[in-house]
C-alpha cells in the first residue's frame, strides 16, 4: 500500500481521532481502529520506519 503522507487529526478537545493520509493517491481520513486496513498498514509502515505520522495542526 503506497502511503505518501500521514498526519493526526484531532477533535474539538484536541484529542487525536483519526489520521489524514494519502494512500494510493487518495486522501483519506483513517480511524484509529486496528481492524481498519488503512490504519493497520499505517502502523506497519511506521514500525518499519517507512513513514512517520505528523502531529495534528
Amino acid at each position: 500500500m503506497n502511503i505518501t503522507s500521514a498526519q493526526f487529526e484531532s477533535d474539538d478537545n484536541g484529542d487525536n481521532v483519526s489520521i489524514q493520509a494519502t494512500i494510493e493517491e487518495q486522501v483519506l481520513s483513517v480511524p484509529l481502529d486496528p481492524a481498519n486496513r488503512h490504519y493497520a498498514e499505517i502502523l506497519k509502515q511506521v514500525a518499519d520506519g517507512t513513514i512517520t505520522i505528523a502531529d495534528a495542526d
Partner: protein, 360 residues
C-alpha cells in the same frame, strides 16, 4: 415425498440455504463506478465491489478495470481487466493479482479447519481471455493462518466464456481465529516476475504463503495491450462439489457489499463556523469495522436563505465519534458559511459522493 424424488443436490449441508460465500459474484454491484482507467502501481478496490486488484513490485503495466455487459448465459455483468500499457520485461518482484471471494474469518469457522474433519471449499467461475493456457489459482488464509494451497485451471479457447470448478482441500493443520478480520481469499496472479515462478510446491497441499511459486503458471496479461481477463459467476461454497450459481436479488447483494464499502450522496449539514460543516450519519448497513472516509469530488452546500457554498478542494474527515454504525463527520475547505445554519449536501453537489471504506 419419496426420497427418490429429492434432488440430491439439495440434500446435505453444503447445498441448503445460502451457499455462495462470495459476495457480488455476478458482478452487478459497482458502487465505485463502472470503469476505472490508468491503474498503475496500486493495491485497491476499483469499480466493482468485492474484487481487489494488486499491481505492485515496479512493473510498468497499467490497466483499466470495468463492469461489462458481456457475460455468459444466465449472467448480465462481468468484471474485466484490460491491459492498457504493456510491460514485456517484468521486474522479478512484480505481480498483478486479482483477489476474489474475500471472507471474514468468523464466516468460515464452520469449516472446522485445524481439525481432522476440516471441510473442503469449492470455487467455481466463468472466465474469458484472449490468452490460453494454464493459470495458477491460490486459496489463501490470512489473519493468524497465513497459508495457501495451490491449484490451476486452463483456458482452452481464446475469447470464449468457459466455466471452471476447483476444489481446495480443508486445512487440517491450523484453526482460524474468530473475528471480522480477513480470513480467506482467492488469489490469481495474472502476471508475475521471476520471484513468484521458481518454487516446486505440489498442487493441493497447504503450505506457507512465503512459497515462491504462487504464479508457477500465469497467463501474463501484462505482456500486451491486447491482453485482458474477464470473470463472472464467482461462487465459493463448502464441500467438494460445485453447484449451480446462487442468484440473489440485487438489493440483497448490494446490502452485503455495504458491509465493506458504501457511499452517501445527500445529507443535511450544519455550519460549525465560516469554513466548516458537519453532519451525523447512521449507516443503513452496519459496516465490518470503523471505515476510512473520503470524498470523490468537491461538494456544493445549499441553503436557499444564505446561498450556496462551494468547497475549494476536497476535505472530508472524521470529526469525533466514529464507529462501524456511523459517526460525526466534517467537510472543510469552505468559505462564507454561517454558524449553526443548515446546509444541504446533495441538492447541488452533482456527482460528489462521500465514501466509507471498511474493506478487508
Amino acid at each position: 415425498m419419496a426420497l427418490s424424488k429429492v434432488n440430491p443436490n439439495f440434500v446435505g449441508e453444503t447445498a441448503i440455504g445460502r451457499r455462495n460465500l462470495a459476495i457480488n459474484g455476478d458482478m452487478r454491484i459497482a458502487q465505485r463506478g463502472a470503469t476505472t482507467t490508468a491503474i498503475g502501481q496500486s493495491a485497491n478496490y476499483f469499480s466493482l465491489d468485492r474484487v481487489k486488484l494488486f499491481n505492485s513490485g515496479g512493473a510498468g503495466a497499467t490497466y483499466t478495470v470495468s463492469q461489462e455487459t458481456d457475460a455468459p448465459t444466465g449472467f448480465t455483468k462481468s468484471y474485466k481487466i484490460q491491459t492498457t500499457t504493456a510491460d514485456t520485461s517484468l521486474p522479478a518482484a512484480s505481480y498483478t493479482i486479482l483477489r476474489l471471494a474475500t471472507t471474514e474469518a468468523q464466516d468460515l469457522l464452520r469449516l472446522g479447519w485445524g481439525t481432522s474433519s476440516a471441510k473442503s471449499l469449492t470455487f467455481s467461475f466463468w472466465v474469458k481471455s484472449n490468452k490460453t493456457g494454464d493459470q495458477t489459482i491460490l486459496a489463501v488464509t490470512h489473519a493468524n493462518m497465513q497459508q495457501h494451497v495451490k491449484q490451476k485451471f486452463t483456458i482452452n479457447s481464446a475469447n470464449t466464456w468457459e466455466k471452471k470448478e476447483i476444489t481446495f482441500v480443508g486445512n487440517t493443520g491450523t484453526a482460524m481465529e474468530d473475528g471480522s478480520a480477513m480470513g480467506f481469499g482467492i488469489d490469481i496472479f495474472l502476471a508475475a516476475g521471476s520471484n513468484y515462478q521458481g518454487g516446486t510446491t505440489s498442487l493441493g497441499v497447504w503450505g506457507t504463503r512465503a512459497a515462491t511459486d504462487k504464479a508457477a503458471d500465469t497467463l501474463n496479461i501484462a505482456n500486451s495491450t491486447s491482453d485482458y481477463f474477464q470473470i463472472t459467476g464467482v461462487q465459493l461454497e463448502v464441500g467438494d462439489t460445485a453447484t449451480d450459481f446462487e442468484h440473489r436479488s440485487y438489493g440483497e447483494e448490494l446490502a452485503a457489499c455495504k458491509r465493506y464499502y458504501q457511499v452517501v450522496s445527500a445529507s443535511p449539514t450544519f455550519g460549525v463556523d465560516n469554513i466548516r460543516a458537519r453532519m451525523s450519519l447512521s449507516f443503513p448497513v452496519e459496516m465490518r469495522g470503523t471505515p476510512s472516509v473520503s470524498q470523490s469530488a468537491v461538494v456544493v452546500l445549499a441553503n436557499p436563505g444564505v446561498g450556496n457554498v462551494t468547497q475549494s478542494g476536497v476535505s472530508f474527515s472524521i470529526a469525533g465519534t466514529s464507529t462501524n454504525r456511523g459517526g460525526t463527520y466534517q467537510l472543510a475547505n469552505l468559505s462564507g458559511m454561517t454558524e449553526s445554519k443548515i446546509y444541504h449536501f446533495g441538492q447541488s453537489s452533482g456527482a460528489a459522493l462521500l465514501q466509507f471504506d471498511a474493506e478487508l
